[in-house]
C-alpha cells in the first residue's frame, strides 16, 4: 500500500466506524454469549470425556504409544509423508519453521490494499489448501494406529534351527511388538510406514552391532532404548538381526 492508499483506507474506515455501534453493550453482548457457549462446551466435554490417566511413566518398560495430543498429529504426519532419512530434518523442523516464518511475515509481503477474499485468489486458495492439508494430515494421524502385534512368517533359517533360536525369535518379536517400534516402523505388513525406515529386511542392511548401536544411540526422532532391561534389549537385537 502506498501513502495514498493508506490514507484512503483510514478515511473509509473512520466513516464505517462512525456509522457503527458502541462496543458496550452491543459487541459485549455477543462476546458474552460466545463465552457462555465456550464454557458450556468445555464443561460438557469434561463431563462426557473425563480425564483419563494411563499407567505410570517408566523408562524401562516397553509398552507405550508415542502419540502426541491430537492437534500435533499433523506435524507428526509430515514425518511420514517425507520419507528419505536425509530429508527428515527438513520435515521435522524445516517445514514447520518455514511455515511459521511465512505466517509471521505475511503482512510484510502481502501489502496490497485489497481485503475481499474473492479478490485475493492467491491468499484465499493458499489458505484453504493449508487448512485442507492440515485437516487431512490430522485425520491420517488419528487413524494411524500403533499396532502391538507382528504377524510375519518366521524365516526358514530360524524354523530349521528350531529349539532355542526359534523361541528367542518369538520372544523378540513379542518385545518389539510391545515396544512401540511399530508406531514409526513397518515390519512386514505391520506398523506405520514412517517416519522410520522399513525394518522388514533390516539385517541385510545393518549388522547385529549396528542394530544394537542404533537402539542405544539412535538418530532423532527415534527414542533411545538403552534403559531397557538387558534381556529385553538382547531379544530385540536377536529378532531384528534375523530379518534378512
Amino acid at each position: 500500500m502506498n501513502q495514498q492508499q493508506k490514507e484512503q483506507y483510514l478515511r473509509e474506515y473512520s466513516v464505517l466506524k462512525a456509522q457503527g455501534k458502541p462496543f458496550f453493550p452491543y459487541a459485549v453482548a455477543k462476546d458474552s454469549i460466545m463465552a457462555c457457549i465456550v464454557m458450556a462446551v468445555i464443561i460438557a466435554m469434561s463431563l462426557v470425556l473425563g480425564a483419563e490417566l494411563g499407567s505410570k511413566a517408566n523408562p524401562t518398560t516397553t509398552t507405550y504409544v508415542p502419540r502426541p495430543e491430537w492437534y500435533f498429529f499433523f506435524l507428526f504426519e509430515v514425518l511420514r509423508v517425507i520419507k528419505p532419512p536425509s530429508l527428515v530434518p527438513l520435515a521435522t523442523i524445516g517445514v514447520p519453521t518455514i511455515g511459521m516464518i511465512l505466517l509471521f511475515l505475511l503482512p510484510f509481503y502481502d501489502r496490497k490494499p485489497e481485503r475481499r477474499p474473492e479478490r485475493r485468489p492467491i491468499a484465499t486458495i493458499t489458505g484453504i489448501a493449508v487448512i485442507a492439508a492440515m485437516a487431512y494430515l490430522t485425520y491420517q494421524g488419528a487413524n494411524a494406529g500403533s499396532p502391538t502385534a507382528i504377524e510375519t512368517p518366521t524365516p526358514t533359517a530360524v524354523v530349521q534351527a528350531g529349539g532355542a533360536t526359534r523361541g528367542e525369535f518369538e520372544a523378540g518379536k513379542q518385545v518389539v511388538a510391545q515396544s512401540g517400534c511399530l508406531a514409526c516402523h513397518k515390519i512386514g505388513e505391520n506398523g506405520n510406514a514412517g517416519p522410520g525406515p522399513n525394518l522388514s529386511h533390516i539385517a541385510s542392511r545393518l549388522p547385529r552391532q549396528g542394530i544394537a548401536r542404533t537402539l542405544v544411540n539412535p538418530t532423532a526422532p527415534m527414542p533411545s532404548f538403552k534403559n531397557l532391561p538387558p534381556k529385553k534389549f538382547q531379544s530385540i537385537v536377536n529378532f531384528l538381526s534375523q530379518l534378512k
Partner: protein, 271 residues
C-alpha cells in the same frame, strides 16, 4: 395502653431546620438502595480521583465498532475466555500437583483424578479446555486471515498473534508431560527428539528442554516451570498488548462492507 396522639413538633429557628431537598435528590435521605448506589459511586469516585482510570474505561467500552461486525468477531474474545478458563482450572490443579519425576507427579495427578472432590471434573476441563483453546486460536486466525485484517495498519497485531499461537502450542506441549504417565512420557521423549533434529538451534533447544542430555527429573521441573510460570505470564502480557492495539486501531469492518453514503445515512437515522 392507649396510644397518645402525636403532638406537632415545636417550630425550630431557621438555622436549625433541615435544608429542603436539593433538586435531583428524592427527599433528602434516600432508602437503602439509593444509599448503596451512592456508596458505589463514592468508591468509584475515590478510585478515579487517584487513578484517572474512568477515561480509559470509557475509551475502551464506548468506542464504536464498525458497521457490519458479525459473529466471526467474537472468536478472539472466545479464545481469551478459554485462556481464562485454563488459568482458573490450572490454579486449582496446581494446588495439588507436585513436579516430582520419581512418582510424586503421577501420584498427585492420580489423587486429583480419583480422590479430590470434583477433581476429575476440573482436570477434564483443563485438558479439554486446551483443545478448545487451540481450535479457537486457529479459527480466530482464519477469520483475520480471510478478512485481510492483517493489513495496514494492523500488521503488528498479526505478528503478536502469531507469537500467541506459538506460545499456545508450546503451552499444550509442555502441559502434556506433567501427568507423567506412559503416554505423556514417551510422546514427549519423541517430541523433544524431533526438536533436536532441527537445523542450527535444534540440538540446543532439545538439550535445554531436557535439562541435559538425559530425560528425567530436571526435564519435568523445567516443563513445569515453563508451563506454570513463564508461558502464562507471557501469554497474558501479549494478550494485553494485542487487545490494546485492537482498542486503539479498532477492529476491521468486514471486507464487503462499504460506508453508507451521506444521504442514505440521514435517511437511516430518521427511520
Amino acid at each position: 395502653m392507649p396510644r397518645l396522639p402525636k403532638l406537632p413538633a415545636p417550630p425550630l429557628p431557621p438555622p436549625l431546620r433541615e435544608p429542603p431537598p436539593r433538586p435531583g435528590q428524592a427527599n433528602g435521605k434516600g432508602g437503602p438502595i439509593e444509599e448503596a448506589m451512592e456508596a458505589g459511586i463514592t468508591v468509584v469516585d475515590w478510585i478515579d480521583e487517584r487513578t484517572s482510570l474512568s477515561g480509559a474505561g470509557r475509551w475502551l467500552l464506548f468506542r464504536k465498532v464498525p458497521k457490519g461486525t458479525n459473529w466471526f468477531y467474537t472468536l478472539g474474545s472466545a479464545t481469551m475466555f478459554a485462556f481464562l478458563s485454563q488459568a482458573v482450572t490450572g490454579v486449582f490443579l496446581a494446588m495439588y500437583y507436585r513436579p516430582d519425576a520419581s512418582g510424586g507427579a503421577y501420584e498427585s495427578i492420580r489423587y486429583v483424578t480419583n480422590e479430590v472432590f470434583l477433581g476429575q471434573f476440573v482436570r477434564g476441563m483443563h485438558k479439554w479446555g486446551s483443545s478448545v483453546m487451540v481450535i479457537l486460536v486457529f479459527l480466530h486466525m482464519g477469520r483475520t486471515f480471510f478478512f485481510g485484517a492483517y493489513k495496514y495498519p494492523r500488521e503488528l497485531n498479526w505478528v503478536i498473534g502469531v507469537v500467541l499461537l506459538i506460545l499456545t502450542m508450546v503451552m499444550s506441549f509442555t502441559g502434556y508431560l506433567l501427568p507423567f504417565d506412559q503416554r505423556a512420557y514417551w510422546a514427549t521423549v519423541v517430541g523433544v527428539n524431533i526438536n533436536g533434529t532441527g537445523p542450527l538451534l535444534g540440538p540446543y533447544l532439545s538439550d535445554f528442554l531436557r535439562g541435559g542430555s538425559e530425560f528425567g527429573a530436571t526435564t519435568l521441573s523445567r516443563f513445569y516451570a515453563i508451563h506454570m510460570l513463564l508461558l502464562p505470564g507471557a501469554i497474558a502480557a501479549l494478550i494485553g498488548a494485542h487487545l490494546y492495539l485492537v482498542a486503539k486501531l479498532g477492529t476491521t469492518a468486514p471486507p464487503w462492507q462499504k460506508p453508507v453514503p451521506r444521504s442514505e445515512e440521514l435517511h437511516e437515522a430518521e427511520v
